[in-house]
């Protein structure tokens, strides 16, 4: 079945089973392997991507449900090779250890920074923790991840 999706701003048409997981379509059919599979049951958040601006687990979404939707993966964050504030901050604060949770963490963090409610004020530490509650880091490097998101939020607000 031919399904049209928009991935990182690019119009694509994939010919796959309608129940194929968005995660597998991204990795196998779009060759975007930045999105990782962790648990495959919606617990770990490693496969997080944005669908029409909302963060979701791509292992739980059949591709037929995102027909016509705009999908952003970790590969789509940087613009023309320039990293976005949250990526810069993850590097600066040493937020990545083994790294497998980081693509998902970045997408959950970006969804938080994009949210309308926070457009005029930066999130609290509690709000940051809540935003990444669905993303597990088995290195338990949460402190630096939260630090990085806090710094990214501040620099994002300053630029507005």
């Amino acid at each position: 079945m031919a399904i049209k999706i928009v991935v990182n701003g690019q119009d694509l048409e994939v010919s796959v089973s309608p129940m194929k997981r968005l995660l597998d379509v991204l990795r196998q059919d779009c060759y975007l392997t930045g999105t990782k599979e962790g648990c495959g049951e919606g617990e770990c958040g490693a496969c997080s991507v944005l669908v029409d601006g909302e963060v979701i687990n791509s292992c739980l979404v059949p591709v037929c449900q995102v027909e016509g939707s705009e999908i952003v993966t970790v590969e789509g964050l940087a613009e023309n090779g320039k990293l976005v504030p949250v990526q810069e901050a993850f590097i600066k604060y040493g937020a990545a250890q083994c790294g497998i949770c980081i693509p998902g963490m970045l997408m959950a963090a970006q969804a938080l920074l994009d949210s309308k409610e926070l457009s005029k004020q930066t999130p609290t530490r509690y709000e940051i923790r809540e935003a990444i509650a669905g993303n597990l880091c088995r290195c338990t490097g949460y402190m630096k991840i939260v630090d990085a998101i806090e710094a990214a939020a501040l620099s994002t607000l300053e630029k507005k």
Partner: protein, 282 residues
């Protein structure tokens, strides 16, 4: 290859349900896809509800909210009317998974999935919600407390689907609470949940009370014997002790991978004691 029907109109969905059985309905997919990912066979024919925007409305009426079955937990959490008139439903929705699941999982899915651990279900039971069911034969309404006929069994016929949830508003004189006890705050399936709704006067007399408990029986249950033991009485230490004892006797928990019978029974008693004590001290 699987055949997936993705109607954009509700009437079309009813026609599909009537014409192409057997059919598995998928809404947000947060439960079904977990099963398929772990090797459960994907059915040959599915009905994908995701494009039915008709079922995404929340409407306010004088005494109730009409909530479309396809409303996501995020939608419930953010909606001003739900926050004002059904704050315990917001509390329950916030305990489900985390952002990724709340953006995708739906209230209708929580109901139809029919798990005794469905987090919104005790709230619907305590508030005497009514479930609107649709098919080509028309619409019908079923009280939520009659919706389940057994473990993971519902009154839905093969050609029917849940369309809306009618949820009575919490009244200003009512006090309501939702409690969830799980392994951790996010991403945890509950060991015990309780939703309580009560009218308590200035003399601390419990004029009216409704208590619903999840994960302690084959379905979410109303503990009507415990309600009877509390109703009409003034809250004091003796009533709190009676309520705890009644609750521990009334629930029918089992031991499974998440918890054991003794723990669930004890926690159920503790939760009703906690509710009464919070209101006694208030």
């Amino acid at each position: 290859m699987n055949k997936v029907y993705s109607p954009k109109e509700l009437s079309e969905a009813f026609q599909i349900l009537n014409s192409y059985q057997p059919l598995k309905i998928v809404a947000g997919g947060t439960d079904l896809m977990v099963g398929y990912n772990s090797g459960m066979p994907v059915p040959d024919q599915l009905l994908n509800l995701w494009k039915l925007d008709e079922l995404r409305h929340i409407d306010e009426y004088p005494s109730l909210l009409k909530i479309g079955a396809l409303c996501t937990y995020t939608q419930l959490i953010k909606d001003e009317r739900v926050r004002k008139y059904a704050p315990t439903l917001v509390d329950a929705a916030k305990t489900i998974g985390a952002m990724q699941i709340q953006n995708r999982g739906t209230l209708g899915g929580n109901i139809v999935n029919a798990s005794p651990a469905g987090d919104c279900l005790p709230v619907l039971a305590a508030f005497d919600a009514v479930i609107e069911i649709g098919s080509v034969r028309g619409l019908r309404q079923v009280p939520f407390t009659d919706f389940y006929t057994g473990y993971r069994q519902t009154v839905l016929a093969e050609d029917e689907m849940v369309t809306n949830i009618l949820l009575p508003k919490q009244k200003t004189e009512e006090s309501a609470k939702f409690y969830k006890v799980g392994t951790r705050a996010a991403q945890a399936i509950s060991k015990v949940m309780m939703s309580v709704r009560a009218s308590i006067d200035a003399q601390k007399c419990v004029k009216e009370i409704a208590i619903a408990v999840g994960s302690v029986a084959p379905t979410v249950i109303r503990t009507r014997l415990t309600e009877m033991a509390i109703r009409g009485l003034i809250i004091d230490e003796s009533l709190i002790a009676t309520a705890r004892k009644e609750m521990m006797e009334e629930v029918r928990p089992i031991t499974d991978i998440r918890s054991n019978e003794h723990y669930r029974r004890t926690v159920s008693g503790n939760l009703i004691a906690k509710f009464l004590r919070e209101n006694y001290l208030a």
